[in-house]
Amino acid sequence: MRYDSITEAIGNTPLVRIDPAVHGLRNIDLYAKLEMLNPFGSVKDRPAWHMARPHLEGADGEGTVVELSSGNTAKALALLAGMHGLKFKSVTNRMRVPEIKELLLLLGAEIEELPGRSECLDPTDTDDPLTHFHQALSDPDSTYLHTDQYFNPRNTEAHAAGTGPEIVKDLDGRVPDWFIACVGTAGSSTGVARVLREHDPAVRVLGLVAHKSDFIPGIRTIDEVHQVGLFDPGTYDTIESVTSGEAIDGMVTLIRRCGLLSGPTGGAAYQGAVRHLRDADAELDGTGERRTAVFIVCDRAESYLSYVRRRRPELLGQAKRGHTAASLTDAEAQAEARVITVADARRWTAEGDPRPLVVDLRSPHAYGALHIEGSVNIVDEVFDELVRGGLPFSKRTPVLLACPVGEKSLRYAALLTRRGHPDVRSLAGGIVAWRDAGAPLVRE
């Protein structure tokens, strides 16, 4: 394969059969349409290119492409804009996955996050940021190119021209009995459904939305889809909701058992599909008939690690390492740590022979603002790493540990004592008590 531009690599994604041993459906062949293998990583490469192309090809390196997007469309548009010397700005209040935000920054995007809702409701408020956004776009001097994915028919067309026909071609000209897609802008489900119905009106289309109180990045809840211009309830034979838990279950199955490095919406589509098809599959038992179903895997897993970590930390569990301060119980810390009052500590640091090394466990910024003269700063996270390995100081050096209120330092004092250090003490009440006693703190 040899191309002149990466945009030529958009589309023509594989259709891969899911092993029946995994999904357990006996009479239905289930296929995954791997949109995650588009060059920018998602199903949105197609509409992004189709929507932006007329703007970009006419543009002479002027202006900014803007879109309300929380991830994949933004990613594709940022790359496309960059290739054509334009800037890209994403406006959203849904960018809740930090890796995606950082990835967009890497791509050179500018991100504007819409504020949360007002706590004190003002029903006459016309000052909502989305209104400002649309006003800025319609300003005659504006150099914004708004791709408008929620309302732009070219979004749907990209799938009617590409995704849909590819599925039919890969099924040897047949249309699947079921087509399953998650609904975000409704572009992929609407475009594909249109083409499939034209071939065979008997196809059943299942639209999946996020459970109302839940959050699955990239898809909408049943209320939110009503705000999408491309959404027409008539497109779907059924609309069902999926929870974030099901999405992660599905994602893990696709990753660990099928070798498909899917993100949460692919997982949601898989899990929703299997759940929906189970009854139909049972009815087919004994009839000797076979059916096919196709679902879309929208994007890849890598960008969602923190999403997974938050909801299913055990999936990313690290093996336990040596003895840490956190593994001591409160009672152990109390019993094994030596503590020293502010008054004694002042004397010790002034007159001790040898003088103790004072270690301040706070962040560098706080340390820079005010600290005990002569102390060194080792922020707790770093200190934690250091003491995992052993003793970071000589046993001949006495040590005074200080943290804000004497709670963290107590644990570390206990731990280091356990490790055999003869004279580690924790400053009782911490830097706060030191300050409250009127003891000097310096700034550098």
Binding site: A109, E110, E112, E113, P115, G116, S118, E119, D127, H226
Partner: protein, 498 residues
């Protein structure tokens, strides 16, 4: 009628047991008239303790300042005045609130004066040694003039900052968190002028802290503001000022509804009604800000997020646990490591579960053409109980007179109208589902109204009586009550036993 679209309130003890004391509540309304507000002052003290517990868990020193604007009652303020002086203060936003707080037992050193201030308010605040939360450089100049001109003692001040979003842009590209525009506070980018003014007036004012109050439910915006205030305080320190407290305002929110699913079902039904795929849920198809544009729902629902998983002290905990966007440490750690105290100013959330508003049913009739729909006229108006005005949707609790009649339990949809001769005087613009049709003489109890709903909009239009307010406390199986203005937090409060 299909499934009744209930939005039942979250009611916790002791409010729950007060609601069960139907005979008592009926006798109160018989004696004092409809509408009537009932407050349980003990609850405000418990709520303050909950907020303090969260602060303590994060090892933070500081104070809970009750945002007086949430309710004009005396019993709540007096009950809080009786709490630990180091832990509980009051935030007053007007001269009258300041006078009220002083009269209820708060000494000046426990009072924070916020909001826009006129000369009289500034003078009295300075005179009694309250902390002045400065809204603008202009206020600082005015205060400094007053202190000098009247030979007053040096005044503790906080500066309230705003406009945190613009300061977050780093070098052209990056993430910008837009914020709802605020008329209050001094934008961070203008803080330089403020700092030099503070230095110039050091003989008459002492900067003891920095403040913000953001009108948003978004915890990320608050974490960002918090961090920027910490950075700003550092700048103050570098210039020889010594602010010590960070005041993060209020806005911790209340979860009004008991059941998430009821809220979800109702809001979905609203979208469907706006699209016309189901009959309207509201008086004349009111859409609460949503509209139908060619089959697509547009606009924002002007509704308080009435069911929320975290609110009040839980929300504070979430904010304090959230990593600061630049420095990365959790907000609480940031404050603690910089040796800062935390002030909070909860209003709505401090009076959560503190009271209810009662209205007598005056009249029940069919609501025009629609079958199975009724109009219930109440002895109160939309000003007396303004949950709806604040976008809080919550069903009232029906308190029948003389106990439930048998055989009539049949859910019914009603519109609740007020006692003014105005088409617009609806207590709810929403069809409210009740477990049965009320009758004249029954009471409706609107629960959890102490935060802004009870008397925020009350007025004397058309010479209708204003709600009286009583304070109650449990006494054995019964309740003791007194007029709000007669309540004092003494071991044996005055008043009569029911």
């Amino acid at each position: 009628m299909d499934v009744p679209l209930y939005l039942r309130p979250r009611v916790e003890p002791p409010l729950a047991s007060l609601l069960r004391a139907q005979t008592f509540l009926h006798s109160l309304v018989d004696a004092l008239g409809s509408p009537l507000n009932v407050l349980i002052p003990e609850v405000v003290a418990e709520n303050a303790a909950r907020f303090r517990a969260v602060q303590r868990r994060h090892h933070l020193a500081g104070r809970v300042y009750y945002a007086h604007k949430a309710n004009r009652s005396s019993s709540l303020v007096r009950r809080l005045a009786a709490e630990d002086v180091a832990a509980v203060g009051i935030d007053v936003a007007s001269l009258e609130e300041l006078r009220h707080a002083l009269g209820c037992g708060f000494t000046g050193d426990r009072i924070m004066a916020t909001g826009p201030k006129d000369a009289e308010f500034l003078w009295l605040a300075a005179r009694v040694g309250a902390t002045v939360n400065l809204d603008s450089p202009g206020e600082l100049e005015q205060l400094a003039g007053l202190v000098r001109g009247h030979g007053l003692a040096r005044v503790d001040v906080l500066v309230r900052l705003s406009g945190f979003e613009s300061a977050a842009v780093q070098g052209g590209t990056g993430t910008r968190l837009l914020a709802r525009r605020s008329r209050f506070g001094t934008p961070v980018r203008e803080a330089e002028a403020l700092l030099s003014a503070l230095e110039r007036h050091r003989d008459v004012v002492e900067l003891t802290g920095v403040a913000y109050h953001l009108d948003t439910t978004g915890v990320e915006e608050k974490a960002r503001a918090l961090e920027q205030c910490v950075l700003f305080m550092d700048e103050c320190r570098a210039r020889g000022l010594a602010p010590r407290a960070l005041d993060i305002g209020g806005g911790f929110g209340v979860g009004y509804l008991a059941d998430a699913e009821e809220w979800e079902r109702w809001t979905t039904a609203l979208s469907e009604a706006v699209l016309g795929v189901r009959p309207p849920l509201t008086w004349r198809g009111h859409g609460y800000g949503l509209r139908n544009e060619g089959g697509t729902v547009r606009g924002n629902a002007a509704l308080y997020p009435a069911h929320r998983p975290t609110a009040g002290p839980g929300y504070l905990d979430e904010l304090l646990s959230m990593p600061a966007p630049v420095l990365g440490r959790p907000s609480a750690t940031l404050l603690l490591e910089h040796l800062h105290d935390l002030y909070i100013e909860p209003g709505r959330s401090l009076v959560d579960q503190c009271g209810l508003s009662l209205a007598r049913v005056l009249d029940v009739r069919p609501a025009g053409e629609e079958p199975d729909r009724y109009l219930v006229r109440l002895g109160m108006n939309a000003g007396d109980m303004s949950l709806e005005e604040h976008g809080v949707l919550m069903d009232p609790v029906l308190l029948p007179r003389g106990g439930p009649a048998d055989g009539e339990e049949e859910p019914v949809g009603v519109f609740l109208a007020g006692n003014l001769c105005l088409e617009a005087d609806l207590i709810t613009r929403r069809l409210v589902h009740l477990p049965r049709l009320p009758r004249a003489g029954d009471l409706l109890a609107f629960t959890n109204t102490a935060g802004y709903a009870m008397d925020f909009h009350a007025h004397r239009a058309q010479r209708q009586p204003l709600a009286r307010t009583v304070a109650v406390e449990p006494e054995g199986d019964s309740w003791r009550w007194c007029l709000d203005e007669d309540y004092w937090p003494l071991t044996s409060p005055g008043g009569t036993t029911a």
